[in-house]
Amino acid sequence: MNDIPGDLKFAKSHEWARVEEDGTVTVGISDHAQSSLGDLVYVELPEVGATPKQGDGVAVVESVKAASDIYTPVSGEVIEVNTALSDKPETINEDAFGRGWIFKLKISDKAELDELLTPDDYAQVAENDDH
């Protein structure tokens, strides 16, 4: 089943990226990822102002089961983090593609977006992950 919003792009490591109208990029983890991790109990957010490169580990989500690194799908400057997750990490379980966003970036190289997966391609990755 593919309930992935069509305006998202994905990294194989299960992060999503959405280009907003103002050109910034919002990043979160996929619904498949939150479901695999199980109940989230802690999110370590990146620092605003950090300038990670594509694929750098920038955040950590911890579920009851395990800790998992979150890699930024594109390079850029972190301009905002979802501080609401500090008290309510379970928001990611409830709404991974919406209220459960993790951070926003000012992207430094838009071409990197083309390297990401479409929702359909990512759905394949997620499905193979289950086997």
Partner: protein, 368 residues
């Protein structure tokens, strides 16, 4: 080769997320692991523990054999049906496994041992059984369901034939009976568990285990996975073999001194090593930790103390407390301010007595 319990298809029908656990394909959670945890603390939950190994020991000298095999004293088992938690040790005093011994008749004792250590355990038991003329029989034809929580007993008892309910209701803690179950199925009903809640562990023939599971489910008992089982037992201060102790760790170093019976003249395997370690000084001890800051203590993290470095054994998020707790093995001595290295950051923790949770409530001092 992965083993499957009789309930495997039932777990899948319920939408369980399955994982490999000691060579068994087992449910880690059906939905939210935290909700399953709370279901057991507040009502009743059930776990498929059919992967655990039932071993029956028979022979006139079975009690003598167990006096030698295990570190706790089976002479504490005076009345048929009584159960005892104990370790069996190697000659160096290391823990081969932890297990429950049920006294059924003078020539018949039942053991329930861990799944992951099954092969090793059976070899070890058989190796020593011979000289006592005790026969060792694994019972793979049985499944096991643990029904746990404050309403677990009344729910299960409500499913039994009316004429045996009173008997089941009178069963004391850490005791077992053989009793007729629903629709005539034979049950071995033990008032034991691994969650810190009251309840039963029920041994039932494989051919009836799905039927019993479904009856319990219809009666409102929530299926719970191994994930919830782990957080429940951690909160309850119970050790997990392989994580909190193994063959390289003595019971003194694993907070299991209460299970060691150094009674006069009983020569159990590992006793000499235990006494020697006690005489020369036990180098390490197991303590409970609570972290008030956000984050999760995990197995393998480094623990920094004034007495030297230690490590997190079982660690995780404790849903009843809303914070993380752990067991840690640390050097014996004045620990000072204790910190845990989490991804390079030294995070302060408090050293506390465990259990962390009892009867569904945090113990005093665990939550500020």
């Amino acid at each position: 080769m992965t083993d499957k319990t009789e309930l495997n298809a039932t777990h899948r029908e319920l939408g369980a997320r399955m994982v490999d656990f000691g060579g068994w394909d087992m449910p880690i959670a059906y939905g939210s692991q935290i909700e399953e945890h709370h279901a057991v603390r507040k009502g009743a939950g059930m776990f498929d523990v059919s992967h655990m190994t039932v071993v029956d020991l028979t022979g006139e000298r079975t009690r003598d054999f167990l006096r030698k095999l295990v570190a706790n004293n089976v002479d504490k088992l005076a009345k048929p049906g009584k159960a005892l938690y104990t370790c069996m040790l190697n000659e160096r005093g290391g823990v081969v496994d932890d297990l429950i011994v049920y006294f059924l008749r003078e020539d018949f004792f039942r053991l329930v041992v861990n799944a992951a250590t099954r092969v090793n355990d059976l070899a070890w038991i058989e190796k020593h059984a011979g000289e006592f003329g005790v026969s060792v029989r694994e019972r793979p034809e049985f499944g096991m369901i643990a029904v746990q929580g404050p309403t677990a007993r009344e729910t299960l008892i409500g499913l039994l034939p009316e004429d045996v309910r009173e008997k089941a209701g009178k069963l004391g803690k850490f005791a077992a009976i053989e009793i007729e179950g629903p629709n005539g199925m034979p049950l071995f009903l033990a008032r034991t568990g691994y969650t810190g809640e009251d309840g039963f562990e029920v041994v039932v023939p494989n051919s009836r285990v799905v039927e019993l599971w479904k009856l319990l489910h219809e009666a409102g008992v929530a299926p719970a996975g191994l994930g919830a089982r782990d957080t429940l037992r951690l909160e309850a201060g119970m050790n997990l073999y392989g994580q909190d102790m193994d063959e390289s760790v003595t019971p003194w170093e694993a907070a299991l001194a209460w299970t060691i019976s150094l009674d006069e003249g009983r020569d159990f395997i590992g006793r000499a090593a235990l006494e020697q370690q006690k005489a020369t000084g036990v180098p390490r001890t197991m303590v409970g930790l609570v972290m008030d800051e956000k984050g999760v203590l995990r197995h393998g993290q480094k623990v920094l103390t004034a007495a030297g470095e230690g490590e997190i054994l079982s660690g995780g998020f404790a849903p009843t407390l809303g914070k993380s707790v752990a067991f840690a093995r640390v050097p014996v001595g004045e620990l000072g301010d204790v910190r845990v290295d989490i991804r390079g950051k030294a995070v302060p923790v408090r050293v506390v007595k465990f259990p962390f949770v009892r009867d569904g409530q945090p113990m005093p001092g665990i939550v500020d």
